[in-house]
C-alpha cells in the first residue's frame, strides 16, 4: 500500500459503483431508465446547490447561507408575481437580491476578513429573517397564474430527460467551464491552495473571493427557481431544514476537501449520485425513516473512515484553518 494512494474521489466511486450494482441486482425495478431518471431528478436541485458550494469550498471557504439564497430570492419572485408584477420584473429583482446577498457575504469575508463559516452562518439567518419578516405573506409562497409558462424550468422533459436533470447538466457544464477554462477559475484554485502566495503573485484575491460568493448565491437562486417550478410553490421554510448539511455532504463526500484548492465538478456529480442512489433505493425498499438515517450515517462513516485510513493526515496535508 505504500506507493498506492487512493483518493477520496476513488473511494466514493467504488462505494457508489458497489451500491449501484447491489441495488441493480437485488432491487426489482431499480435498474430501469425511468427509475434512474427519477433518481437523478430527485437529487438535481441538491446537485446544483453542490456546484455552488463547490466553487466556494475550492476557494477555501464555505457558504452556510446558501439555503437562504435558494429560498429568499425565488420566494420573492413568486410573491411579486402573486401581487401582480410582471414575471421579468420579478425575476430581475430576485436575481438582484441574490447578487446583493453574495456581495454582502463576499465583502464580509474578503474585506472585513470574517471567517467564512461565521460570516455566512450569520448572514444566512439574516437573509432568511429578512424574507420571513418583510417579503413573504406566508412561508409557502404559492404558484400563481402569472407564473404560468415558467414551470418548464422544473417540469416536463427535454428528449425524455426531465428538466431538473437538464438544468443540473447545464449548471455542471457552466461551472466546469468556469473552473477549468477561465482565468477566474484558475485564480479560485490558486486562492484555495495558498491565499498568501496567490496575493504575492498578483492575483486580485479580494475581488475573486467576492465573486465566488456572488456566483454561489446566483447558482443557489437558480436552484431555488428549479425547485419552485418543480413543486409549484416555494416552501421558504426549507431554510430551517437540514438541507445545508446534505449540500456539504455532497461536496465533501465527492472528494472536494474542505481545505480548498482540490476537486471539481466531477466530484460534485459523484457525491450527488451516491446520495441519490441511497435515497432512491431506500424509498423503493420502503425503509422506515429512522432506518434510512441509520443507513445513511453508516455509509458516510465508512467513506470517511476509509479516507482517514488510506490517506492519514500528516504535517503536510493538515493545514491550519481546516474545518
Amino acid at each position: 500500500m505504500k506507493n498506492f494512494r487512493v483518493t477520496q474521489q476513488e473511494i466514493v466511486l467504488v462505494v457508489f459503483v458497489a451500491l449501484f450494482a447491489i441495488c441493480s441486482v437485488f432491487l426489482n425495478g431499480f435498474l430501469t431508465t425511468d427509475n434512474i431518471l427519477t433518481l437523478l431528478q430527485n437529487v438535481a436541485v441538491l446537485g446544483i446547490l453542490g456546484l455552488a458550494m463547490a466553487i466556494v469550498v475550492i476557494g477555501r471557504g464555505i457558504d452556510i447561507s446558501l439555503i437562504a439564497a435558494l429560498a429568499v430570492p425565488p420566494g420573492l419572485v413568486l410573491q411579486l408575481v402573486q401581487y401582480g408584477y410582471t414575471l421579468p420584473f420579478a425575476i430581475s429583482l430576485g436575481l438582484g437580491i441574490a447578487i446583493i446577498f453574495g456581495l454582502v457575504n463576499g465583502w464580509l469575508i474578503a474585506y472585513a476578513e470574517v471567517p467564512s463559516l461565521f460570516a455566512t452562518l450569520a448572514t444566512g439567518i439574516f437573509f432568511a429573517g429578512l424574507g420571513q419578516a418583510f417579503l413573504f405573506e406566508l412561508e409557502v409562497v404559492q404558484w400563481s397564474e402569472g407564473m404560468n409558462g415558467f414551470e418548464w424550468l422544473g417540469q416536463g422533459s427535454l428528449l425524455g430527460v426531465p428538466m431538473p436533470i437538464v438544468m443540473f447538466g447545464i449548471a455542471c457544464l457552466a461551472v466546469a467551464f468556469l473552473l477549468r477554462r477561465t482565468r477566474v477559475g484558475a485564480y479560485i484554485y490558486a486562492i484555495g491552495d495558498n491565499l498568501a502566495a496567490s496575493r504575492v503573485t498578483g492575483i486580485p484575491v479580494r475581488p475573486i473571493v467576492v465573486l465566488q460568493y456572488v456566483l454561489a448565491a446566483l447558482i443557489g437562486c437558480f436552484a431555488g427557481l428549479v425547485l419552485a417550478s418543480s413543486v409549484n410553490s416555494m416552501p421558504t421554510r426549507i431554510y430551517s431544514s437540514t438541507l445545508i448539511y446534505d449540500v456539504i455532504l455532497v461536496v465533501v463526500l465527492g472528494g472536494i476537501g474542505l481545505s480548498g484548492g482540490k476537486g471539481g465538478v466531477i466530484n460534485v456529480i459523484l457525491g450527488t449520485l451516491l446520495i441519490g442512489t441511497m435515497l432512491n433505493s431506500m424509498t423503493i425498499m420502503d425503509l422506515p425513516y429512522a432506518a434510512q438515517n441509520l443507513f445513511k450515517g453508516i455509509v458516510l462513516l465508512i467513506a470517511v473512515i476509509a479516507d482517514t485510513l488510506l490517506n492519514p493526515r500528516n504535517e503536510e496535508t493538515a493545514q491550519q484553518g481546516d474545518i
Binding site: 425495478g29 430501469t32 416552501p235
Partner: protein, 338 residues
C-alpha cells in the same frame, strides 16, 4: 247577552291596556339583565396566543379570527411566535405564566413538551385552550381536528376509489415526531384493518416538505405505475405529491386525499385544478370562532381554570370538485386580515 257584553267590554279594556303598555315600553328602554356584567367581564382581559409559528395559513388564520372576534370587546391580544422552535415556545409559555394573562391559546408542537407547563398555567388560574394539536394534559378547552377521523375518512375515500382497481396505495406521512401525523396514521390503519385486499406499497415520512413528498411519490409511481390512491397528511406538503402524480400523467387514475386548513389557494384551488381529489378541511375561521366563543363564555362565567374540561372537535368539511367553487367552502387569508 249580559255575559257577552261583559266579555266584549273586557276585551276592549284589555286591548287598551296593551296599547298603553306598549307605549310605555317604547317610551323607556328595558335593561337586558346580563350584558353589562358581560361587557365588564371582557374589558381589559388579556388573551395570549402561542402557535408553533406564524407565517402559514393555520397560525395566521387563527390569530386573525381571534382578533376580529375579541378585540372589539376590549380584550387585549398578545402574540408569541416561536417560529417552529419548540424550546422557544416552551420559554414563551413559561414567561406567559408569570405575566398571567386571563386565557392562553396554545398550539402544541407535540404531545409532551408543553404538557406540564399547561397544567401549571391552569393551577395559576389561567384558562388554557388548546388548538388543533392537543398535549397529554387535558386543559379547560380543546378546539381542533380529530386526526384519527381524518385518517379514517381519507383512507375510506381512497379505498372506495380503488375498488376494482389495483388496490395498491401509498401513504405520505408528515414528520414522525408530530402526533398529528401519528394519529392520522392510526386512523388510516383502522380502515386498512377492515380491508385486507388493500396493499400499502409505500408508507414514508416526507417531513411536511413538498419537495420530499414529490421525490418519494415519483419513485413510488415509477415502481407501481398502477397505483390507485395516495393518502397524504397535509395539503401544504401534498402539493408536491400531486405534482408528481401530474407529471406522471396519472391524475385520473391516482386518487389523492389530503387534509388542511381550507385556505383557498392551498385547498379549493388545488381541488379545482385536479391536484387533490379530496381535501378534508378543518376550516380555520370556524375554529377561531369556536375558540372565541369558548373564551367569551369562560370569561363571563364564574368558573375557575381547570375546574371544567371539555373538547370541541372540529366538524370536517370534505372539499371535492362538487363544492370547491362555493364561496363558503374555503376562506381567504387576505380577507380575514382586513
Amino acid at each position: 247577552m249580559l255575559i257577552s257584553k261583559f266579555i266584549r267590554y273586557g276585551l276592549v279594556a284589555v286591548g287598551m291596556t296593551a296599547v298603553a303598555s306598549t307605549a310605555a315600553l317604547a317610551d323607556k328602554g328595558l335593561d337586558e339583565p346580563f350584558q353589562a356584567a358581560f361587557r365588564a367581564a371582557m374589558k381589559d382581559k388579556t388573551v395570549a396566543y402561542v402557535p408553533v409559528a406564524m407565517g402559514f395559513d393555520l397560525g395566521e388564520g387563527w390569530w386573525a379570527g381571534l382578533k376580529n372576534e375579541l378585540e372589539p370587546l376590549g380584550i387585549k391580544m398578545e402574540l408569541r411566535d416561536p417560529n417552529w422552535n419548540t424550546s422557544a415556545g416552551a420559554q414563551a409559555v413559561t414567561s406567559l405564566i408569570s405575566q398571567h394573562p386571563d386565557v392562553m391559546v396554545i398550539h402544541n408542537p407535540d404531545v409532551q413538551t408543553y404538557a406540564r407547563l399547561l397544567k401549571r398555567a391552569e393551577e395559576a388560574g389561567i384558562f388554557v385552550i388548546q388548538i388543533n394539536m392537543g398535549s397529554a394534559y387535558q386543559s379547560t378547552g380543546f378546539v381542533g381536528a380529530n386526526w384519527i377521523e381524518i385518517g379514517e375518512k381519507e383512507a375510506e375515500a381512497v379505498v372506495a376509489h380503488c375498488k376494482g382497481k389495483s388496490n395498491k396505495i401509498a401513504i405520505v406521512q408528515g414528520a414522525l415526531s408530530a402526533a398529528a401525523s401519528a394519529y392520522t396514521l392510526k386512523g388510516v390503519e383502522n380502515v386498512l384493518a377492515k380491508h385486507p385486499e388493500i396493499q400499502v406499497v409505500s408508507s414514508q415520512a416526507a417531513d411536511w416538505d413538498a419537495a420530499k413528498a414529490k421525490a418519494i411519490t415519483q419513485t413510488v409511481l415509477k415502481q407501481h405505475p398502477d397505483l390507485c390512491g395516495i393518502v397524504g397528511f397535509w395539503d401544504g406538503m401534498d402539493i408536491g405529491t400531486a405534482a408528481a402524480v401530474k407529471e406522471a400523467g396519472l391524475t385520473d387514475q391516482v386518487f389523492v386525499a389530503t387534509s388542511g386548513g381550507g385556505e383557498r389557494k392551498g385547498a379549493c384551488d388545488q381541488v379545482k385544478s385536479g391536484a387533490f381529489d379530496l381535501n378534508l378541511s378543518y376550516n380555520v375561521p370556524n375554529q377561531a370562532a369556536q375558540m372565541a366563543g369558548m373564551i367569551k363564555w369562560l370569561l363571563s362565567s364564574d368558573l375557575k381554570a381547570g375546574s371544567v374540561k371539555g373538547m370541541a372537535y372540529t366538524t370536517l368539511i370534505p372539499i371535492t370538485k362538487e363544492n370547491a367553487d362555493l364561496a363558503m367552502t374555503c376562506w381567504n387569508l387576505s380577507d380575514m386580515k382586513k
